[in-house]
């Protein structure tokens, strides 16, 4: 059994869905790093990494940072080594759905979050993105709760974040969710003050 097969077999046995998804992201990222690409976990799988508790995206979305994007052939060959292709850019790896997207979009100027060698979208950008999808086209309280959780984690200093950069990203023309962010920060800070 190759080292890669052994890792995949171990991941298949993983019974914590959160950890399993991250380990799949790690092994897929590693294979793309070997050809000079820089994968970044984005979207719901990144929320899962940060929130750790109440959100499981069930899949892994990967974008690429930097000038080197995998060619379609490289992409397909790597995914065939790792699992079962389910269509262009989509594959099942150790029971987890993996989507390979294009170049990463981020407005934040902070460094990507890293866990070992695994890269994830910055918390500052992720919060702004979640606020955007929770308020456009209309306010959605259920979606807003995802943003609220991420903001609470930052407010409680459980995630390293640059607050100034968070406000700048939220206020930027890319997102324009600064008012929503400030309201949620005040709400979360108020709750913490009242609860302590």
């Amino acid at each position: 059994m190759s080292e890669l097969d052994a890792i995949l077999a171990d991941i298949r046995r993983e019974d914590d869905p959160n950890r399993k998804n991250l380990r799949v992201a790690e092994v897929v990222s590693r294979c793309f790093r070997e050809i000079g690409c820089a994968p970044v976990v984005v979207g719901g799988s990144a929320v899962e990494f940060y929130s750790d508790g109440r959100y499981v995206s069930g899949d892994v979305d990967l974008c690429f940072d930097g000038p080197r994007l995998p060619t379609p052939r490289e992409r397909e060959e790597i995914m065939a080594r790792l699992g079962k292709p389910l269509g262009v850019r989509r594959c099942e790896v150790a029971g987890v759905l993996v989507d390979l997207l294009g170049r990463v979009e981020t407005t934040a100027r902070t460094a990507f979050q890293k866990i070992g060698e695994l890269q994830l979208i910055q918390i500052e950008d992720l919060i702004a993105e979640r606020l955007l999808v929770a308020t456009v086209p209309a306010r959605d309280e259920t979606r807003l709760e995802v943003a609220r959780v991420l903001i609470a984690l930052v407010a409680n200093d459980l995630i390293a974040a640059d607050r100034e950069e968070l406000l700048r990203v939220a206020d930027s023309p890319d997102y324009r969710v600064g008012a929503e962010l400030r309201a949620l920060l005040a709400e979360v800070d108020g709750k913490e003050g009242a609860g302590s």
């Binding site: 171990d10 046995r13 719901g44 750790d52 508790g53 109440r54 899949d59 979050q113 984690l153 200093d157």
Partner: protein, 73 residues
Amino acid sequence: MSAEKPVRLERATTWEEWERGRASRRAICDRITAGRELRRFSGDPRKDELLRRLNSGGRGLRFGPIAPRASPE
């Protein structure tokens, strides 16, 4: 309540630190959501169907208790 100091997730962290901070982060999540699960949103019915199939082994997308640590290596 645990007297353990909450573990902050630094910008560059290790798997071990990520594991050590899980309970702290989960406690905050639970406080905000009152223990409810957050729903996922793909907006893509085909993707949702694939996910339903992949997660149809009984566990689905639900959270259970944190499982014992397995080596990421």
